[in-house]
């Protein structure tokens, strides 16, 4: 199945609310070995002006990844998951994600470029709290190799 021709400019429904806990932030920080006290010590976070512990700068990928996964699984999009490579990723931070946030992401396709049998799909995921506060914009390019026979 080919990619949907009208993919560029399309926006997809918000991801289900994602609750961010202190434990998840600590587990993510542990996984990349980040020992910044802002990830684990609520008092240190408060002293730095945050209401609670904050997540490492790449933590928004957890929510962005859910948006990308749902987008790629959408049968109208025409992506075959095994043909996709995550080719780049960039985050623009409005404010650090913190424990207690309830987040949702809205993914949209900014552009689709064809290069040597590969479609480069540029996406933007706006990550907000369920109250509408912007926390991060995550930009990802997904490289989709044309399935054989197309």
């Amino acid at each position: 199945m080919p990619l949907a021709p009208d993919l560029a400019g399309r926006e997809f429904p918000p991801t289900p609310p994602y609750d961010v806990s202190r434990s998840q932030i600590a587990a993510f920080a542990d996984a990349i070995g980040a020992d910044d006290p802002l990830h684990r010590d609520p008092e240190a976070a408060k002293a730095a002006g945050h209401p609670d512990v904050i997540a490492p700068p790449t933590f928004p990928i957890v929510v962005a990844f859910q948006a990308m996964t749902a987008f790629m699984a959408d049968p109208d999009v025409g992506i075959e998951l095994r043909n996709v490579v995550h080719s780049d990723q960039r985050f623009e931070v409005d404010r650090p994600i913190r424990a207690g946030d309830v987040l949702t992401a809205v993914i949209s396709v900014e552009s689709v470029r064809q290069a040597a049998g590969t479609a480069l799909i540029s996406t933007r995921s706006l990550i907000r709290t369920v109250d509408g506060e912007a926390v991060c914009t995550a930009y990802a390019t997904l490289a989709h190799r044309a399935p054989e026979g197309d």
């Binding site: 996984a31 490492p56 095994r82 995550h86």
Partner: protein
């Protein structure tokens, strides 16, 4: 507190990456793609072996930037292109990823850009990797 200055390079950071780190990252991030933990699947899809999540490598870059900048809350922009895979062997020593940075001024007051060079062995593994950090100096 770190004090970054334009055109002064911070001390490069080295991070050892083992298979167990990838399994831990898979759990913490929710990315369970088997190319990051199964030798069988990785070689079936033509990779030389199990590779680190691109986001794991970018996460290490973010950790280095946060340490240089004096806190994770100082990183306002971070990104890169996943140009070469980081192949992680199934042994105790793993591989070492190095993150080096060059600090540049920006047009925005209180912001510095850090151009990142992220390597594994002699190989650059991220392309166009850069961060923007808040800076009070």
């Amino acid at each position: 507190m770190a004090s970054l200055k334009p055109d002064v390079s911070p001390e490069p950071a080295q991070f050892r990456v083992r298979r167990s780190d990838l399994v831990r990252y898979a759990g913490a991030s929710g990315d369970f793609n088997p190319i990051h933990w199964s030798q069988r699947v990785a070689t079936e899809v033509g990779l030389p072996g199990v590779i680190a999540h691109g986001m794991y490598t970018l996460g290490l870059a973010g950790r280095a930037v946060a340490e240089w900048a004096g806190g994770a809350d100082r990183v306002v922009e971070l990104g890169g292109r996943f140009t070469k895979p980081v192949v992680v062997p199934d042994d105790e020593s793993g591989v070492v990823v190095e993150v080096a940075g060059e600090v540049k001024p920006t047009d925005t007051a209180g912001r510095l850009r850090i151009d990142l060079t992220v390597t594994c062995g002699e190989q650059k593994v991220l392309g166009m990797a850069r961060a923007v950090v808040v800076h009070d100096g």
